[in-house]
Symmetry: D4
Subunit: 157 residues, 8 copies
C-alpha cells in the first residue's frame, strides 16, 4: 500500500457503503487515505496486522466503522497507539444502540473516540481526522475554516 | 497449564469476583477447569493465544465474562471454533445493557452463546458448559438431573 | 421422528421463516436435524414433551427461536438438561428488546445460551450447535475451520 | 389446600417478600387467598399443575409475580383460562425492564394482565383481582368504593 | 346505549383501527360490547362520564387502547372500580415504549391490567375480558377451552 | 385560597419533597404561589377542579410534578388552557423514563411543557414560570437577568 | 424583521418541514410569528444573536425544533430569559430518544419546556405559546377555548 | 493563562471531580494542560471564548466533560476546528444515557470524538489526546507504548 495519512476500515462490505462518506470527505480536504474491509470477528489477524503496522507505515489516524457488537474500532485500538475514531453503524433490530455502546464503552486504558451513528458520523469521522492532522498543518486548518464557512453559508441544510 | 475441560476467562480482576461463581459451579460437578484473567483490549495477544491454543490443549468449552464494551467472548470466539459462552457483567452507569449488547450481537459467522447478566449468568455459564459436556458423558447427565432435583426441592430459593 | 443431532424449534409459523436459516446452516455441515413449530404459550404440553424426550431420542442440542415475550428457549430448558440455544426474533414495536431480555435473563439454575437477534442469530445458533458437536467430532471441527476460512476469504461480506 | 378465590404465586422466596403485599391487600378485603412459591423454570411441572387445576379447585383469579425473564405469569396463563394478573418484579441490573417485557408481551391467544413493577404492582394486582370479583359481589364493590374514598381522604400519600 | 358486558374505548379514530380487533374477538365469543372513541386529554369529561356510569349501566369490564402518553386506561380506572384492561398502542417515534410505561406504571391504589402492545394486545384484551366473565359463566369457560384448542390445532400460526 | 400567580401541584406527599424546590425558587423571585397535593388517579375530581377553576382564580401558570405513569400534568392540561409545566419525578425501577414519556408525549391538541427530571426540573419549572410571567413584567425580567448573572458568577456550581 | 410575538427556529432545512406545523397553528390563532433556520452547531453566532436580541425585538416566546444531539432549544435558552419551548425531532437510528434527552435534560438554572416529539409536538409548541400569550390576552384565551371545543367535537380524530 | 497542549473543560464543579482524572493522566505523560470549569448553558459566552481562542493560544486538543443534556463538547466544537473529545458524565436518573446521546449525536459537519462514560472515559480522553499529540512526537509515542506495557503487565486490573 502507498503511504496514507488516514486508514478507513469498514467491518463488512455493507458497512463500506456508509464508510465511503468518510473517504469522500477526506478527499475534499486532499488528505491521503486508504479504505479497507476487515472484520474484527471474521478476520481478527488481518485487523491486528492492519492496526499494529499502521504507525510504521505512516498512518496517522485510523477510522473504523462497524455495526452490531461493533468491536472493530476497539480491536484496532488494542493493537495501536494511534488515535482511533469509531463510527457506530445502524442495523436492525437495535438501530445503533448495540454498535454505539459496543464502540464507546471502552475500558480504562484503550481509548476510542466515537462520532455519531451512521452517515453523519462517517462524515464527522473524516472531519475529526482532518482536525487532528490540522494541529501541525496550517493549510488544513485553513481548509477547515473554509468548510465551516460553507456550513454557515448553507444556512444549515 | 494442566489439561482442563473448561477455560473460564475474566476480563479484569474485578470481573473475576463474579466469574468465580462459574468455577464454584464447575467444581460442584467435578469438571476440570482453569480460571484466567485476560483483557480483550489491554491484552489482545494473550486473548488470541488463549483462544487459538485452547482446542489443542484439550479445552472443550470456553466461558468469558466481561463488562462495558465487552468484547472478550467475541474476541475468544474469533480465534477458536470451540463453543464460547459469554457472561455480560454489570458496571455503572449502563448496568449491563452495554455488556449484553456487546456480547450477544455477534455478526453472522462467529457465534457466542450468552447467558444472563451478572452472577446468575456466571452460574448458568457453568451449567451450560456442563450440559454441553454431558452430551457424551452419562455421569454428568445424571449429576445435572440431580442438580435440577435440588432446585425443585428447594422450592425455588 | 428419525434420530437427529439438533432439534430446531420455532415459536410460530412466521418465526419459522427466520429459523429456516438454522436448518440451512446445519445442512451445510451435514448435521442431522429436525425443525418443528411449537409455541411455549399456545402449546405448552407439546413443548414439554419435545424437550423432556429429546435426550432419549438422541437429540444433542436444541435451538429455539421466538419473538415477543419469548419463553420458548427457557421453557425447553426447564424440561431438559441438554444445551439449549435461544434465538431472539424481532417483532414490532419493540424490535428484539423484548425477545432478547425474555430469552437471556434466565434465573440461576436453568441456562440458555443466546445468540444475536434475527437471521444472524439463526445462522449462529447452527454454528454454535456444530461447535458443540465438534468437541468429539474431529471431522466437524475441520469443517468449522473450513467455514471460517471461507469467511476470511470472502473479506467479510 | 382449602378453597380460595385468589391464588398468588411468587417465582422465588425473594419474590415472595414483595408478593406478600398482594396477600395483605386481599386480606383487607376479606378475600380468601393462598400464596405459593413456584418457579416457571425450576419447577415447570408444579406450575403446570397449579394452573391447570386452579379452576376446578375454585380459584377465580391468579396473580403471578416474578423477575428477570419472568415467564411465571405466562406459564400459568398457558395452562388455564382463568384470568392471570402478572406483577413484574425488579432485579439488578435491568431494573424491571426485563420482567416487564417478559410478562406483558404475550403472544396473541394467551392473555396476561400486567400491573406496575414492584410493590405498587403487588398491591394493584390484589385490587384488580378484587375488582374482578366485585362484578358479581356487591359487597366487594362497596368495599372498593370505601378503599377509594380512603385514598382520596389521604390526599394521595 | 344498550346494556353491554364489555366497553371498548379507543383514544382516537386511528387507535380504533387496532381496537376493532378487541371487538371482533368479543363477537366470536358472543359477548355483548360497545366500542367508543374518547380521548383522555381532549375529552376528559366524556371519559369521566363513560367510566363513572359504566357499572350502573351494566358494564362488567372496560378495555382501553391508546398511544403516546396513553392516559386513557388510567383515567378510566380513576373513575370506576370495574376492572380496566389497557392496550398500549404503537406510534412513532417511540414505538410503544411511551404508551406501555404510561399505561402500566399506575400508582398504588388504582390498578390497570395491561396486555401486549398493538394488535396482539387488542385481541388478548378481549380474551382477558372473556376470562373474567367466564368465572361465573360456564358456557364462556367452555368456549375459551375450545378457542385454546383451536390455537393448539393451528400449530401456533 | 388567596390569589396566586403560580399553582404548584405535586402528585403525592413524597413528590412534594421535590416540588418544594419549585416553591423555593418562586419565592426567590417574589412570585405568589400555592402548593397543593393532588393525585391524577386517586383524586381525579380534585385535579379537574383545580385545573378548571385556575384561570378564573387568577392563576397564570400551573406546574405539576409526578412520577411513574405521570398523568398529572396532562390531566391538568386537559382541563385548562393555561400553560402547564410538567416535572417528571424519578422512582424505582424505571428511574424517570416512565414519568418523562408519560408527561412529554402528549397528543396533538393538549400541550404540556416538560422540564428536566427530578430536582433540577423542579427548579427549572419555577424559572420557566417566571420567564412566562416576565413577558409583561419588566421587574421580573430584570430579576431573571440578575439570577443568570449569579449563575455565571458562581462559575457553574 | 418585523415585530413578531413568537419566533420559531428550526435546526436545519429538513427540520423546517416539521416545524412548519408550528407556524400553521400560530397562524390559525392569528399570532404574529417568524420562522428561521439556524443550527446550534453550524451557526452558533447566529443562534446567539437571534436569542440575545429576541426580547428587545418584541419576541415573547421562542420555539426551537431540532434532532439528534438537539442543542438548539438549550442554546437559545442560554442567551435569553424569554420562555423557550423545545420540540425534539425524530431522526434515524435513535428515533427521538437522542433529541428528547438532549432537549429536556437541561441543567438547573436554564429552563426549556419540551413538548412531544415530531409533528404532534410542533403543533403543541404553538398551542403552548398561545397559552402563554393568552395569560394577558382574553381574546386568545377565548380562541383557545374554541380550539379545544373543536377537538372535543371531532371526537378525537 | 500559560500555553498548554490540552485544555480540559468541566461543565460544573461536580463534573470537575471526575475530569480531574483527565488531568492526572495527562500529567503522567508530562503533557501541559489547563483545567477550567465552564457551563455551556450558564456561561455560553465563556465557552465560546475558550473555544474560539484556543488554537491561537496554542491549545492542540480540547477535552470536555459534562452530564445531563451535555452540550459542552458540542458547544466547544461549534467554535473551533481543533479536535474536541467529549466525556459523558453520569447523573441520576438517566445514568449517562442522556449525556452520551447529547454528546455523541452531533450533526454532520461539527465532529466530537466521544469516549466512555464517567471516570473510565475521563482517563481515556487524556490517552486519546496523548495519542493525537504522539503523531508528531516520538517521545510521547514511546511513553504510550510503555503505558500499554504497564496495562499488560498488570494483567488487566
Amino acid at each position: 500500500m502507498r503511504k496514507c495519512a488516514v486508514m478507513v476500515v469498514a467491518g463488512s462490505r455493507s458497512d463500506l457503503q456508509v464508510m465511503i462518506e468518510t473517504q469522500k470527505t477526506l478527499e475534499w480536504f486532499g488528505v491521503t487515505n486508504e479504505v479497507v474491509v476487515a472484520s474484527a470477528h471474521r478476520q481478527p489477524d488481518r485487523v491486528r496486522q492492519l492496526a499494529s503496522k499502521a504507525r510504521e507505515r505512516g498512518v496517522q489516524v485510523i477510522v473504523a466503522g462497524a455495526g452490531m457488537a461493533a468491536h472493530l474500532a476497539g480491536a484496532m485500538a488494542s493493537h495501536t497507539t494511534l488515535p482511533v475514531i469509531g463510527v457506530p453503524l445502524a442495523t436492525e433490530p437495535f438501530g445503533a444502540l448495540d454498535s454505539l455502546l459496543s464502540t464507546v464503552q471502552m475500558p480504562r486504558g484503550i481509548p476510542v473516540g466515537v462520532v455519531a451513528a451512521g452517515s453523519a458520523g462517517a462524515v464527522n469521522a473524516a472531519l475529526l481526522a482532518v482536525e487532528i492532522l490540522s494541529i501541525r498543518d496550517a493549510s488544513l486548518a485553513r481548509k477547515l475554516e473554509q468548510y465551516r464557512k460553507g456550513l454557515r453559508g448553507n444556512r444549515a441544510k
